[in-house]
């Protein structure tokens, strides 16, 4: 790439590195085939926490800035060009660069605003959970729609006004004179002002804080300290009996159990449907400089679907995210009772994601299950420990099981069986 831009960006770990390969089947005249370093876990923007969105946006802008200095232009600014590797964002589209012409403005500017700024602003002004909306608008949230959702006060920030409101108002004006020439010439200095301005602006954005059911779950609503200590001890013990490399923690909350394995697992993926919890975990791992925990937002009873052209461009969460051990702690009642899912369905879903399963069974007598049943008819006659074991035995072999002291809850370590 021009004037050492590739070397510069790969040295900083901003751009995925690649090797040139020869493939007789793919080769055609003068073609250069590159094989990028493979990213083990592919995630999509609608699964990211606010901090991940912000990091991805800043990386895009910083790469654009470095490229300008090297005479190249970053022509795409979509978050799908970013993946996360060892806790940091990395740009994966090596072909997104073209020769920079100073008289031309940033061709990816609107894309940047509609993808990055739109999602960040919705999370700042509306709700931490709203990042999921990007599933519906993977090419960017149109400014008209964004403006219709944002509260009126958003307009009072100068940068938001310029990049969103004024842009929407001037969208149909080309800024060209009658003979098709630009009224004012764009320059490198203007480009750098624009990029630097965006960097300062994006770095100052922050997520809207709201109190949710899952906030401080362990600190305030959990049954007792003794329960948490006992469960922690058991989880550690159960996992010490098997060998594993990666862990997938489903319903991770603020990552209490994911954090237990920061030194023993190569990779931990912590998933929760509550954005506040995942944002909290994100700041914990940032403060502790943990590189091997990947926090993701996902509603487990409706995981991210396969989207894009022919539903084949981006795979679904269930097909993509795996772990050697799947943790499903205090999750079963939410799936089985709150979402009416039969044990058999849950067992099949979990069996497809990992070799081992560490699952906590929460019986009907438990106060949390009673809370779920409070305002509805109890139609769950087959929500018993026997039905649970029977259904899961079709997919797993129970290796260990232990009642958690002081509760009726049972912790199981299961191993997938192949029939």
């Amino acid at each position: 790439m021009q004037d050492g831009l590739y070397d510069l960006l790969t040295k900083k770990n901003w751009l995925v590195s690649h090797v040139e390969i020869f493939d007789a089947e793919l080769q055609f005249a003068d073609a250069l085939i590159i094989l990028p370093r493979q990213i083990p876990i592919i995630t999509y923007p609608y699964e990211w926490s606010f901090a991940m969105w912000q990091d991805a946006a800043l990386l895009t802008l910083n790469i654009a800035k470095e490229a300008i200095e090297k005479g190249m232009l970053l022509k795409d600014a979509t978050p799908f060009n970013i993946q996360f590797l060892n806790g940091s964002p990395v740009f994966i589209d090596t072909l997104s660069f073209e020769i920079y012409l100073p008289e031309k403005p940033w061709v990816a500017y609107r894309q940047f605003c509609e993808c990055f700024l739109a999602s960040l602003l919705l999370q700042q002004y509306c709700h931490a959970d709203i990042g999921k909306i990007f599933t519906l608008y993977p090419n960017g949230i149109p400014l008209e729609i964004l403006i219709s959702i944002l509260p009126k006060k958003a307009k009072w920030n100068l940068h938001t006004y310029l990049h969103i409101y004024l842009q929407a108002a001037t969208a149909t004006k080309t800024g060209k004179t009658k003979n098709g020439e630009a009224a004012t010439k764009f320059t490198k200095q203007k480009m750098l002002l624009l990029l630097n301005g965006l960097i300062t602006y994006v770095a100052r954005l922050h997520v809207k804080k709201a109190k949710t059911t899952w906030d401080n779950y362990y600190a305030s609503t959990i049954l007792s300290d003794e329960y948490l200590q006992e469960k922690t001890k058991l989880v550690k013990y159960f996992l010490s009996t098997i060998s594993y490399s990666s862990i997938l923690d489903l319903g991770a909350n603020d990552g209490h159990f994911s954090l237990l394995f920061k030194n023993t697992a190569t990779q931990v993926i912590a998933v929760d449907g509550d954005a506040n919890c995942i944002n909290k975990l994100c700041s914990t791992i940032r403060n502790q400089k943990i590189k091997n925990i990947l926090p993701l937002i996902n509603t487990l009873h409706t995981p991210s679907p396969a989207i894009g052209w022919n539903n084949a461009e981006r795979t679904s969460f269930s097909k993509r995210i795996k772990g050697d051990v799947v943790l499903a702690l205090a999750l079963i009642h939410h799936l089985a009772i709150a979402n009416n899912l039969p044990f058999q369905f849950i067992a099949e879903w979990l069996a497809a994601m990992g070799k081992y399963l560490l699952i906590e069974f929460v019986p009907k007598t438990d106060e949390k299950v009673q809370l779920l049943l409070q305002n509805r008819q109890d139609i769950f006659t087959d929500y018993t420990v026997i039905d649970f074991e029977n259904a899961f035995s079709k997919k797993f072999k129970i290796v260990l099981q232990q009642k958690i002291t002081g509760t009726e809850r049972i912790l199981y370590l299961m191993e997938k069986v192949i029939f």
């Binding site: 031309k104 403005p105 940033w106 061709v107 990816a108 500017y109 609107r110 894309q111 149109p142 008209e144 100068l158 310029l162 990049h163 004024l166 842009q167 001037t170 969208a171 149909t172 004006k173 080309t174 800024g175 060209k176 630009a182 009224a183 004012t184 764009f186 200095q189 203007k190 480009m191 002002l193 624009l194 630097n196 301005g197």
Partner: protein, 62 residues
Amino acid sequence: MRYTYLYLDPGSGTYLIQVIIAAVLGGMMFFKNGWIKIKSFFIKPKPGNDLKEEDVEEKESL
């Protein structure tokens, strides 16, 4: 589906706004720099400007 932008190429559709933003930010930068110059004219820089107070004390005690 792209509403007002359907028939606009991405570059020309945002040309004007990018020019405006660059001008606004450039103007802000100009005034900011001017203000810093005015301030530095009236306020004399402290001795050892780039050293923190503790550093100065430490240096002096050596």
